[in-house]
């Protein structure tokens, strides 16, 4: 085998599977053709938000030619001890509009859908409770937040410091329910081969699903085989097990057939989670020179009756800026809504929108440039954990971004710049996202004269992870890219963490490095050699505070007659550790910034308070940014290598692009119009409010 000294890491490599994807040769879960025997599932969903099923009449559905089975809570297979939100078709209780109450299995998807419409369900129901307010009397403090964060953090006497502050702001921001809308709808193909459950599934990591699915069906990990070679976007909505995967397994068991389940776009608004709405009160106190003396960030958000999802909304506030007195709190209301879930940078995305908007408002109160105000409050160490940063380059992101964007000399006055009928403004916001790694294992098989087979149950949900891992493996093995045969996304491969929390590269990459280390300087016998390596969080997690940082700058134009908002240009500068593949990395930053723009201007799921359903549950009415909404995107990153955190020096880039982007746009909107919109999204009607 030829050794190479040319480094693949850091060079532009086009997606290895790109040609297959554009030619339609890369099968996604639903597209696995398994012969003519596949049958199809259609779901019957609850029309009430809380209540009990008093009767189900499936006779008319069963009578439709081609129908094989109708599963209801009365006769569906019993599931093992799974969490409440996954106990689908296990009882008469209904906890949200859209909850599956029956599943029809038929020879074609059309017949299944037709029959599903014929199932008659009678409910005993009560009025839904779906409206989140900050003055609800039933708000409670969860034991802890997502990802293990403490619910509250308090340092110093915040109220006294706020009262004493010469300059302060006290402002409340709200963000609406938002929904992940990956292009690929969630889909599962399931078949029982004897007592082995085989699934082709769209997810963010087959191993993520193994504990729940084995428990649900009373099988061992050896009796479950999940693959998901290509996934068409996820953003968090495919991280966990959802009910459709269990229904697929049940339907396959009952019918003895290969079963295909694909959610409709409308069903994705109830069955695979959403981002909780938030109500966030921000209070900041400062000296006249801009030195922060107090930070208070109080969050109210919702979760469902059947699950506790406590989004870590204010956790970024714990580390962004120095201040002696500081407090963050999170309170939840349990509402008659479907379970919330992860949506790109859960916590940081809504939380940094509020914090970075409040910092802008404080800058206005102080008469200090908002870039300068941030620079003046840069903490030398993590201000709450009191540990050093592994690397922190927020200052460089802000200064570099300001230069690229042309921030210098900005007139701070709002509502004074006109270009024809457009009101023009600019805004800035900071970004951050935690750097973590999770336990992962990798295996390398070496056979003389053949490419190395590198196996790890990693996932490529459209990010380019397959390509980046191949680059990492090639360098570790000192071979060209075509001498690496990477195998991922299969529950029978070495266990790895899921694609989430921007942890893929920092978790999987070091595991591959560790395996390659095992091979180094070893003679590969003619029969080949197999080595393994593993990686996981180490001392750095306790001893250092590790985060990516960034800065967003936006120009906003608002039509003075219609209130329409345009963002002709944005600049994003990021310090996110070693960049493995610039071409796919740029797409991650670009996608994140675009999703942040979409959050600022468009995305909002409306809960009907009387009926309890998400009323705008399709892509015609739930707007995401269209191409015409996205202007010039200037994307840049700093040379940063964080080897104190992990041997690759990488930080993870899937999420930081969205964090803070909405605040930069909201701040620019204020600068353009003089109007501070504190409730997202900034749709044209806000101009007339």
């Amino acid at each position: 085998m030829t050794a190479t000294t040319e480094r693949a890491v850091g060079s532009d490599v086009r997606r290895l599977e790109g040609p297959d994807k554009v030619r339609g040769r890369a099968p996604y879960a639903y597209e696995h053709e398994l012969g003519a025997q596949a049958v199809f599932v259609a779901l019957v969903q609850s029309t009430v938000a809380r209540g009990r099923i008093t009767a189900i009449d499936s006779a008319a559905a069963t009578a439709v030619p081609g129908v094989l089975a109708v599963l209801t809570h009365e006769d569906a297979p019993r599931l093992g001890d799974v969490v409440e939100e996954l106990r689908v078709l296990q009882g008469p209780q209904v906890q949200y509009v859209g909850e599956p109450v029956a599943a029809v299995v038929a020879e074609t998807s059309e017949v299944a859908r037709d029959a599903a419409a014929r199932v008659q369900v009678t409910y005993e129901s009560g009025a839904p409770d779906v409206v989140l307010t900050a003055d609800r009397t039933d708000l409670y403090a969860p034991e802890q937040l997502m990802a293990g964060f403490e619910t509250d953090s308090v340092i110093g006497d915040v109220d006294t410091a706020l009262a004493a502050a010469p300059v302060s702001v006290d402002v409340t921001y709200t963000t609406p329910v938002q929904h992940n809308n990956p292009i690929e709808m969630h889909a599962t193909v399931a078949r029982w081969d004897g007592d082995v459950l085989r699934m082709w599934d769209a997810n963010q990591g087959p191993h993520n699903l193994v504990p729940v699915i084995t428990e649900a069906f009373g099988i061992t990990a050896d009796q479950l085989h999940i693959t998901s070679p290509h996934v068409g976007g996820a953003f968090g909505s495919k991280a966990f097990t959802h009910v459709h995967q269990l229904i697929a397994g049940m339907a396959a068991k009952v019918t003895g057939r290969t079963v295909k389940v694909e959610l409709t776009r409308q069903q994705m608004f109830t069955l695979v989670g959403h981002r909780t709405p938030t109500i966030q009160r921000l209070r900041l106190g400062a000296q006249p020179d801009g030195t922060l003396t107090a930070i208070s960030h109080e969050v109210v958000e919702h979760t469902s009756q059947n699950a506790e999802f406590a989004e870590q909304t204010a956790t970024a506030t714990r580390l962004m800026y120095a201040a002696p007195a500081r407090r963050t709190t999170h309170r939840l209301a349990r509402l008659d809504v479907p379970p919330p879930t992860i949506m790109r940078a859960p916590g940081e995305t809504p939380g940094m929108y509020a914090l970075e908007s409040a910092v802008d408002e404080l800058a206005v109160e102080l008469g200090i440039d908002p870039v300068e105000l941030r620079l003046r409050n840069e903490p030398a160490r993590d201000p709450e954990r009191d540990v050093p940063w592994s690397t922190r380059n927020l200052v460089a992101c802000l200064t570099e971004g300001a230069q690229r964007f042309g921030w210098a000399g900005r007139d701070p006055r709002p509502g004074v710049r006109e270009d024809g009928r457009w009101l023009v403004g600019t805004g800035v916001a900071a970004a951050t996202y935690p750097t973590r790694r999770r336990p992962s294992e990798a295996r390398i098989q070496a056979v003389p004269g053949q490419p190395y087979v590198v196996s790890i149950d990693a996932s490529d949900i459209g990010t380019g992870a397959r390509t980046a891992l191949t680059q990492i493996a090639a360098d570790a093995l000192r071979v060209p890219l075509d001498q690496v045969d990477l195998r991922i996304a299969d529950s029978r491969l070495p266990k790895a963490s899921g694609a989430g929390g921007s942890t893929g590269i920092t978790s999987w990459g070091p595991a591959i490095l560790a395996a390659a280390d095992e091979l180094r300087d070893r003679e590969v016998p003619p029969g080949g050699l197999t080595v393994t390596g593993s990686s996981g969080p180490g001392e750095e997690a306790e001893q250092l505070s590790s985060h990516a940082f960034g800065a967003h700058f936006a120009e906003v134009r608002v039509d003075r007659d219609s209130g329409e908002v345009r963002v002709p240009r944005m600049t994003g500068v990021f310090a996110a550790g070693r960049i493995i593949n610039p071409v796919t990395a740029r797409s991650q930053f670009l996608g994140g910034m675009t999703m942040g723009l979409s959050m600022a201007l468009h995305e909002q799921t409306v809960l009907d308070a009387g009926r309890g359903h998400f009323a705008n549950h399709d892509l015609a009415e739930y707007h995401v940014a269209a191409h015409a909404d996205v202007g010039a995107m200037d994307i840049h990153w700093l040379d940063e290598v964080d080897e104190a955190h992990n041997p690759l020096g990488a930080k993870g880039i899937g999420e930081i692009g969205i964090v803070g982007a909405a605040a930069a746009i909201g701040n620019a909107y204020w600068h353009a119009t003089g109007r501070r919109v504190r409730d997202l999204p900034i749709t044209p009607d806000r101009y007339f409010g």
Binding site: Q45, T47, E110, R113, D114, A117, Q266, R421, D561, S562, G563, E564, R566, L601, H602, V606, D608, A609, G610, R611, H613, A615, N616, H617, D618, A620, E621, H623, A625, A626, H627, A628, D629, T683, P684, D685, Y687, F688, G689
Partner: protein, 337 residues
């Protein structure tokens, strides 16, 4: 989705004859709206009669200088048609403001006029909706109605069988309403011509009916009469994103100026009502008066005096007022330069 038959006729009369005997049948044009509604279970025809290739795909000159547009002309082709762009800029602009490139390639002129409302209570079969399920009430008046009607709606409360605050989603129809187009319709009893003013109806006491067409009547062509001063016309659409969204408010306007005076004017509004809304109050106020921003604004306010908004769509009143004023101002400014 209900099982259905698919039929093709050899000519328009044959299609009309086929559907006359199918009380639950429907014509299939481009299918860009009907097929979606079938997938949702909102439309449940038992037979589809494909008319996409039956009616004309041509745009012909009329003796008076107007145009006859075949019902099967794709939206994209009509928008690109030179005579349309020259004689009726607002028509081409309206078409290009609608849908996406792919949909405009597929959607037909006739079908565009017969789009159903995008009200989310209409498109969700589990919800009350007097348009989809007469007598079931209206979910929108107490629910999501941010983009629903503020003019000419019926609101007798959520339980009433009459209540409907739906809007008509077509952009093309708004421009054709401003141009006083005539819709040529073929029915079992022969051909007739329906003025755009009479094609779409307000909900009144029967929200289930969008138009005055009888079952089985087929749109074969649209006649757009000559209007020489329509060369100075505009279609301005305000929407929630820069493309690919239905109108919050749209304005189709043309104006004939005599020095600083308004000799004649046409104004129609989209996104405001169950039908394309002709702003006759504003037109009457402007005709013969000065072409000034103040006069435009006063006329717009007079038109919107009839608005009866709900909590979440009240913004449409100032937005429409601004956009009428602005659109007329742009036309008059261009005319002077």
């Amino acid at each position: 989705m209900r099982e259905f038959r698919y039929e093709k006729a050899t000519d328009p009369a044959g299609a009309v004859a086929l559907l006359a005997g199918e009380p639950e049948g429907a014509y299939l044009g481009g299918g860009t709206n009907l097929v979606d509604l079938m997938r949702l279970g909102v439309a449940t025809p038992d037979v589809l009669v494909d008319v996409r290739t039956l009616t004309s795909t041509e745009v012909e000159d009329l003796p008076d200088g107007g145009l006859r547009i075949g019902a099967a002309v794709p939206n994209a082709d009509l928008a690109a048609e030179r005579r349309v762009r020259e004689r009726y800029p607002l028509l081409a602009q309206a078409l290009l403001a609608g849908a996406s490139g792919q949909l405009r390639n597929r959607a037909t002129t006739g079908g565009n006029l017969l789009q159903r409302t995008r009200c989310t209570y209409f498109t969700d079969t589990t919800m009350p909706c007097n348009k989809r399920a007469p007598g079931s009430g209206c979910g929108a008046v107490t629910g999501l109605h941010r983009n629903l009607a503020v003019l000419g709606a019926t609101d007798e409360g959520p339980e009433s069988a009459h209540t409907c605050i739906a809007t008509h989603p077509s952009d093309l129809a708004v421009a054709l309403r401003a141009l006083d187009a005539q819709v040529r319709v073929l029915g079992a009893g022969g051909e007739r011509s329906v003025p755009m003013a009479e094609l779409h109806r307000l909900p009144g006491d029967d929200p289930s009916r969008d138009t005055t067409l009888a079952h089985g009547e087929l749109i074969t062509a649209i006649d757009v009469p000559a209007l020489p001063w329509a060369t100075r016309s505009r279609y301005r659409k305000v929407r929630d994103r820069a493309s690919y969204a239905f109108a919050l408010v749209s304005v189709a306007a043309a104006m004939d100026l005599d020095g600083g005076c308004v000799r004649d004017v046409r104004i129609a509004l989209g996104g405001m009502a169950h039908a394309p809304w002709r702003a006759t109050v504003a037109e009457d106020a402007l005709r013969g008066g000065p072409a000034t921003e103040e006069a435009f604004a006063a006329a717009a306010e007079a038109e919107l005096a009839a608005a009866r908004p709900l909590a979440d769509n009240a913004f449409k009143v100032p937005m429409a007022t601004n956009m009428i004023t602005r659109t007329l101002l742009q036309i008059s400014t261009e005319a002077r330069s």
